[in-house]
């Protein structure tokens, strides 16, 4: 099941670190995200473009997860050779993660 169908989010930048939020659309989606969208799965999805590590924070009040990914922006906004120096588009990569869940 795609994260895209469970939640939405946004990426922010600070130095060479990107933070990416995933906010569940509803309680059921929140339970799945909370259980399945681990820091390890996120690191796997980003491993080819970031150094890591990934730290995960839970915000149950907001039904949200916040992933802090270090070494994610090619040295930081001002030094990056990439096209998207802020890593704003990194928010949509997490949504492509396919979680091993069978939707009832």
């Amino acid at each position: 099941m795609l994260v895209y169908d469970l939640g939405h989010g946004r990426a922010g930048d600070k130095g060479d670190t990107s933070n990416i939020s995933v906010i569940a659309y509803n309680d059921k989606a929140w339970k799945i995200l909370q259980r399945e969208l681990t820091a390890e799965r996120v690191m796997d999805a980003y491993a080819h473009i970031v150094h890591g590590p990934v730290t995960r924070y839970e915000l149950p009040n907001l039904r949200a997860l916040n992933f802090v990914i270090e070494g994610a922006l090619g040295g930081g906004v001002t030094r990056s050779l990439g096209q998207d120096m802020h890593g704003k588009s990194l928010s949509t990569l997490i949504l492509t993660i396919d979680l091993p869940v069978n939707e009832a």
Binding site: G15, N19, L59, S89
Partner: protein
């Protein structure tokens, strides 16, 4: 006790933000304060260089247009302006603002100025500071240092607001502090009233990126729709005497403000949600609740704050060589193969000319430039090759774009749309922490009668 809560509206959330929504906000927002947040991490460094070239410059480039758009309405409605558009030259920005007011027939408009954020001389003389990002000593970049600015807090801004000028202009301050200060000033909150500082800081964090709270950076058609995006309105915070907080947006504008948009924005640029460090406090949003009390009205509650740290964060800007870039596009059968061949040829020609680059990156725009390459990705019909490299050698930087554009004639079949070669001089930033006692904010007023 007036039931009317303080209304703080947003006029800008980044240096190049749109101006029409700010004018609309000033015209019909029924607000008490209008805030323009215009400084990214690297902007002050850039403006420092501008000021070194011309002592009258060094403030945010769109200052004049913004002031022309809002000053008449703000003065008419008694709306006070607070902004960090002063960048590296708040005094210069104040003088320009006063000149614009005079030229528009608005009279002698006083501007309160906050300075003292420039700590370049202080840290130059202070051994032992460590760069937070690289972990190396500050000395490693001192010879290339272009600027060093401390994020000042709401206390300094409050001092400026107490002078009752219609406009307050700062250099580097904490972004949320720009919003917290008017609330502290209006309600007389003390600088250690942590529950209220928490709410005011949360308000600032939510509002500081303007349209990102009201449907900007949000739409995904068919999945997350945003009505009337072309007329996206900017947000307003309604803050009560005890820190009650409602966020809303200018009436009659497009966009949306609800739990979904507020959730995305409260986590924007946040790391540990229990410890968001500002110059004023350490904000904890783990207990934060968002409630839609009416359409486009969200109540924010449950924030907490701990005492601020004993240091200021200082952004250090330094020269870091050049980034060179060139692009050329291919389409049709084997477009990716031809783009890759072009990349190989460009690199070989640069090598044969004797240029070396410590870091080079090749992107296929349309395929792998944003999310990198994965093995199972299908080839697109069209692709745009982009080569970028870092170097300290200006000639090497210029050669890169030159060789990419030469692909029109000297490259694989059907290469078109070559870009003008670009060479950017890089002003990189890192941070250090500086003891609060070593920083002295200054406040004064330009003009007024």
């Amino acid at each position: 006790m007036a039931p009317h809560p303080l209304r703080i509206g947003v006029g800008a959330g980044f240096a190049d933000d749109r101006i029409t929504p700010a004018a609309d906000m000033a015209k019909s927002g029924r607000i008490d304060w209008l805030i323009f947040e215009c400084l990214a991490e690297r902007t002050v460094g850039r403006e420092n260089l501008a000021r070194q070239k011309n002592p009258k410059k060094g403030f945010t480039p769109w200052l004049e247009q913004r002031m022309e758009a809002v000053l008449p309405h703000c003065l008419e409605h008694g709306i006070r302006i607070v902004t960090n558009m002063g960048a590296a030259n708040p005094t210069g920005a104040a003088r320009v603002t006063r000149r614009i007011a005079a030229d528009m027939g608005l009279g002698d408009v006083a501007c309160s100025v906050v300075q003292g954020d420039d700590v370049a001389e202080t840290i130059r003389a202070l051994p032992g500071l460590m760069l937070m990002e690289s972990g190396e000593p500050l000395e490693s970049i001192l010879p290339m240092m272009a600027s060093a600015n401390a994020y000042l807090g709401a206390d300094a801004i409050c001092e400026a607001l107490s002078r009752n000028a219609p406009v307050t202009i700062t250099g580097r301050v904490g972004d949320p502090s720009l919003f917290l200060a008017p609330a502290m000033h209006h309600y007389g909150w003390s600088y250690d009233d942590w529950p209220k500082l928490a709410q005011g800081t949360a308000a600032g964090h939510l509002l500081e990126c303007s349209a990102q709270l009201t449907g900007g950076c949000f739409a995904d058609p068919g999945k997350k729709d945003v009505p009337d995006m072309a007329s996206l309105g900017y947000p307003i915070a309604e803050i009560g005497a005890n820190g009650e907080l409602i966020v809303t947006k200018l009436e009659g504008t497009g966009g949306r403000i609800d739990v979904a948009t507020c959730s995305e924005q409260i986590l924007y640029e946040m790391h540990d949600p229990s410890a968001y460090i500002t110059p004023d406090c350490v904000l904890d949003i783990t207990g934060l609740t968002l409630t839609e009390v009416a359409q486009h009205r969200v109540r924010v509650a449950g924030t907490k704050a701990r005492p601020r740290t004993d240091s200021y964060k200082v952004t250090v800007g330094y020269f870091d060589g050049y980034i060179a870039e060139g692009q050329v596009a291919y389409a049709g059968i084997n477009a990716v193969g031809r783009a890759n061949l072009a990349a190989d040829v460009v690199k070989e020609r640069l090598r044969l000319r004797g240029f070396e680059y410590p870091e080079m990156r090749t992107d296929l725009i349309g395929m792998s430039s944003l999310h990198g390459m994965k093995p199972d990705r299908p080839e697109p019909y069209e692709v745009r090759l982009r080569i970028a490299a870092r170097t300290n050698d200006r000639k090497a930087a210029e050669a890169l774009g030159f060789e990419v554009r030469a692909m029109h004639v000297n490259g694989p079949a059907g290469g078109g749309g070559g870009s003008e070669p670009t060479v950017r001089e890089i002003l990189a930033v890192q941070s250090v922490l500086l003891d609060r006692n070593l920083v002295t904010p200054e406040v004064f007023v330009e003009g007024g009668s």
